[in-house]
């Protein structure tokens, strides 16, 4: 009889984007501290500034990648709205047609009224 080994809990399942983000934020923080530290030499501060700029660019790209990466999912979700929207528009048309039916009734009555008046003018009634 074979026995199935118990499932091993997964480790290291953290979001890789989040891990990269956390690492970059750490670099950014230390670079900013170094470039604004008056005790550092100008050369050291320049190096820290270059690192700060480069890290900011990488974080910009990472943040932007979340935005652009979501676009496809958003398009799919928006497409899924179509059947419901079609039904809702049909309902709106149905409801407004009830008012239009009454409008038609009103115009028929007005037409009868006008006809009666004209017949009255002609002395036919």
């Amino acid at each position: 009889m074979s026995t199935t080994p118990p499932a091993t809990p997964l480790t290291g399942t953290a979001d890789p984007k989040q891990a990269a983000f956390d690492a970059l934020k750490g670099v950014l923080k230390s670079a900013q501290a170094a470039m604004n530290n008056p005790a550092n030499t100008q050369a050291a501060r320049d190096v820290a500034r270059a690192l700060w700029n480069a890290t900011n660019d990488q974080l910009d790209a990472l943040d932007q990648a979340v935005f652009t990466g979501n676009t496809v999912q958003l398009q799919a979700a928006a497409a899924a709205m179509t059947p419901g929207m079609t039904q809702l528009k049909a309902l709106q048309t149905q409801i407004s047609s009830l008012g239009n039916d009454l409008k038609e009734a009103a115009s028929i009555l007005s037409g009868i009224d006008n006809a009666v008046m004209e017949l009255g003018v002609l002395g036919l009634i």
Partner: protein, 311 residues
Amino acid sequence: MIVCKHSVSHRRPFRTVVFSGLVVALSGCALSPLASRTAAFSTAATATITQTMNAYQLVNQTYSDAQVATLVATYDTTPFDASKIKTYLPAKDLAVRTQVLNGLQQYATLLAEVSGNQPITDLETQATAAGNSLVKLQQDDFKGFKIDTTEQNLAVTAVAAIGSVLIEHERARALPGILDKMNKPIQDICKVLQDDIGTTDTPGLADALHRDYDKQIQAQIDFIHANETKMSADEKRTEIETLPKLVLAQQQSDQALAATSKSLAALAAAHAALASTKSQKDSPAFKLKLTELVQDAQTINGFYTSLSMKK
């Protein structure tokens, strides 16, 4: 046409009773609880949709402000590179958000139109027009059709009440299914839009916005250091005073994006509550979600208004 005066005099009280009975029987059917809830939902949703668009604009504007501030601070040491001047959010991706938010807006507007009082008001207007036409038919040979003002009012009210019931019937038949069908896409859209924003501690627009203020603050510090020997005391004070203003704007922007994200979550929750309580007469759960949504939307509105006034 020969109309017996006797029969006319008996027909009038009969009509009055019939119309009155119809009005009494049908009154109170004007707007169902579900219809009032969908109308309230769409009003609150509109505010969230508007503020989400404002969030994207804020992110792009602040990125542009950071570019300008950095350019000013580094102009003497770094050559100006026109190719580096660009908007942060790619136009094609932003266009998709605009399209999706317009779709949500259209859904909210249609829900409001279908669920609100307007169809019934329109119906009453049409019924009144029909009633006026009836009153015009007062020629002697049409005495059979002649009605007085009381009868006219009752007839109009009865017709409007019948129409209201028909409208309500159509709503009750179709709306629950539509709400069910729309719920998953709405949940998905709100989730993705929330993910776009993220927080200041996760990748996304909230972090980008926060760092754009950091860049502006750093550029302002650099500008002061590079030029302080050439500034008068007043000029230096003015430049230094800009720093806390930028920090405050950063805090407010962080809050605005956090509130936008929260509002999107509230919008999804309110729609889920709306869909799940579609057959209930009263829904405290929906009212609670709606209250949260309205509060969030009002909070964000305050943030964006104050930020746009400072620009």
